[in-house]
């Protein structure tokens, strides 16, 4: 297999911020995001010798691991959404911008709480992970056009309530 041709350092640099933001959107807070990101990469790195480049795109493979980790995490804490736990993590922005983002992320979490699970997942993949509709379709089992339609509707809904 051609795993030797992959530049894992470059893949890490490219994918880590996307995985990180996927979890931020998925959880609706910054709490636990670093831990889940680390867990995703550790699991992927442990298994990277078995990754088949000819069978799946790297992003598809990595995000499927992230999805499962996120789902397990959400199941474990399903009963309470820790909106107030988002104050400990430092990011690279200014304090003002960080505060604004935290506030907006909290608002997103509240709005998303009213959405079905599948739609929350689509928002996280599209806007957190910045994944295109084709890969989202592979990850969710939906058709590409269906992904586009649902996202359009969801964004409208969120926009109206923002």
């Amino acid at each position: 297999m051609e795993t030797k041709e992959l530049n894992w350092d470059a893949l890490y640099a490219r994918e880590a911020p996307r995985i990180y933001n996927y979890f931020r959107f998925r959880l609706g807070s910054d709490s636990d995001v670093e831990e889940l990101t680390a867990r995703t990469f550790e699991r992927a790195w442990r298994s990277r010798s078995r990754y088949r480049r000819d069978l799946a795109g790297f992003a598809t493979w990595l995000f499927k691991i992230a999805q499962n980790i996120g789902t397990d995490h959400l199941r474990a804490r399903r009963e309470h959404l820790p909106l107030d736990a988002a104050l400990e993590v430092t990011t690279e922005g200014t304090p003002e911008r960080d505060a604004e983002q935290r506030s907006n992320l909290t608002r997103l979490a509240l709005l998303c709480a009213a959405l079905p699970e599948r739609e929350r997942e689509l928002v996280a993949l599209k806007y957190g992970a910045v994944i295109n509709n084709r890969v989202i379709a592979q990850l969710t089992g939906l058709s590409e056009s269906n992904v586009g339609t649902i996202l359009h509707r969801v964004v409208q809904t969120l926009r109206d309530r923002w």
Partner: protein
């Protein structure tokens, strides 16, 4: 990503993780990669060493055996006969419940190297073949195991093989109890396999027909497991989820006590708590022992969670069998190919159907599904808490054994295969844990 003006408020929520976090994680991953490489090298060196030692041992054993009389030196050596008996047998299995005879292995098809041992030493040098013939009936796993054992453990010089009949547990026990001692009837067998213990009513039937001495052997546990790649962790399913995902017909959620063709394509449709993932299960052919075990364990357990379907077992057995044990044929369950492992690694939603021993042999490759919160393990299998497992029994007409050295040898070999844990088929040998569940010790006669 192309920006839509309407989604700016979402785009702005993205942020960069801290540099400290990224560099710390990267350092950890690099350390992990180095330790993995070290472990691989150690494993490789160990394998080479083991191969050298093993090769030497084989060479020495071969040299010793060549210079010794076979009957003594091969007492504990098992000759490997022709393989793929399982698939041949499975291909012959019919879907119906009627017994199906499997021709005894022809003398010419016996293993080239017959095995002799303690059992063989008890056999007479010349065997009256008509007197030595005996018959075995039962479900797939029992027959497969028996066939393999009879091939590996041939009576020295006799070329005698038992006749096998594939049938249900109930039918096999009926055939066992059908015989009157010494009667040359054609519908009876000397040994019956069953996926359950014999019932008091069946024992009574045996006694009525003069079959008064039976031995019970706990042959092992037929256990099936659904699993996905280790990359994605263990799926958490219920027996009901599995039934609804795999049955050809399922209860209509909108019309009580009505069945509809299975409409479920995603796990979330089966159970809202599960992911919106396509149901895709790859397993052995539907005619295999593993698929039969799936129908008899997980499918039935899930089916029984619907009380009105469970009640059919008493009122309409035929319909119960059809509903609870028929797998859908619309492509959701597919026969697995050679690259199953790669497929499961690539498609996280895909599950493989395995027998327990396959999974136990590759703990770093597959993550077994828990069923109703119970993970498959030797402990949960023996305790009877894992829904994907069932105990398999063999019942022997002891009176026939006494008059039949070949049969005695076969039973003895079968018993030893269980105790020494070299069961050949999907059965998980219980080793010496049988007593823990209160089963009769092997070959101890049951009293009436």
């Amino acid at each position: 990503m192309k920006n839509d003006p309407n989604d700016d408020f979402l785009q702005r929520l993205r942020t960069e993780p801290s540099k400290k976090f990224l560099s710390t994680l990267k350092a950890n991953l690099d350390r992990q990669a180095i330790s993995q490489e070290k472990a691989r090298r150690t494993l490789f060196r160990t394998a080479i060493l083991a191969a050298l030692i093993g090769g030497s041992a084989v060479a020495v054993a071969f040299a010793v055996l060549r210079g010794s009389p076979p009957a003594r030196t091969l007492a504990h050596v098992i000759a490997i006969g022709p393989q793929s008996t399982g698939s041949k047998l499975a291909a012959e299995r019919s879907g119906g419940g009627a017994p199906k005879s499997i021709a005894s292995a022809a003398p010419g098809s016996s293993p080239a190297a017959a095995v002799t041992g303690a059992a063989a030493e008890r056999a007479p040098s010349t065997v009256d073949q008509s007197r030595a013939a005996f018959r075995v009936a039962g479900p797939t796993a029992i027959v497969l195991n028996g066939q393999e054992i009879s091939r590996r453990w041939t009576i020295a010089g006799s070329k005698i093989q038992p006749g096998f009949t594939l049938t249900s547990s109930t039918e096999a026990l009926a055939m066992l109890c059908h015989a009157r001692l010494g009667a040359p009837d054609t519908g009876s067998v000397d040994i019956a396999g069953a996926s359950r213990r014999i019932l008091p009513s069946e024992l009574e039937h045996c006694r009525f027909n003069g079959v008064t001495h039976l031995a019970e052997i706990l042959s092992g546990y037929e256990t099936v497991v659904l699993a996905r790649s280790k990359l994605y962790g263990s799926p958490k399913l219920s027996a009901r989820d599995i039934f609804l995902a795999l049955a050809a017909e399922v209860p209509d959620p909108y019309r009580p006590q009505t069945l509809i063709k299975n409409p479920y394509r995603t796990w979330s449709a089966v159970d809202g708590a599960l992911l919106e993932e396509k149901i895709e299960i790859l397993g052995p052919p539907l005619s295999s022992a593993t698929a039969a075990a799936l129908r008899g364990t997980l499918m039935e357990a899930g089916c029984a969670t619907f009380p009105w379907l469970a009640a059919l077992k008493q009122t309409d057995t035929e319909r119960y069998e059809k509903v609870c044990r028929t797998l859908r044929d619309d492509g959701v369950y597919r026969e697995r190919g050679e690259k199953l492992q790669e497929h499961l690694e690539t498609y996280p939603n895909a599950l493989g159907l395995f027998d327990f021993r396959e999974i136990a042999a590759k703990p770093d490759t597959f993550a077994a599904a828990t069923v109703d919160g119970v993970e498959p393990s030797m402990n949960t299998i023996v305790a009877g808490t894992y829904a994907g497992s069932r105990a398999m029994f063999m019942y022997v007409n002891i009176e026939r054994t006494r008059g039949n050295p070949a049969m005695f040898s076969f039973v003895d070999a079968y018993r030893r295969s269980v105790e020494e844990s070299w069961s050949i088929t999907t059965l998980v040998a219980p080793q010496r844990q049988a007593d823990a569940r209160g089963y009769s010790p092997p070959l101890q006669e049951m009293k009436f």
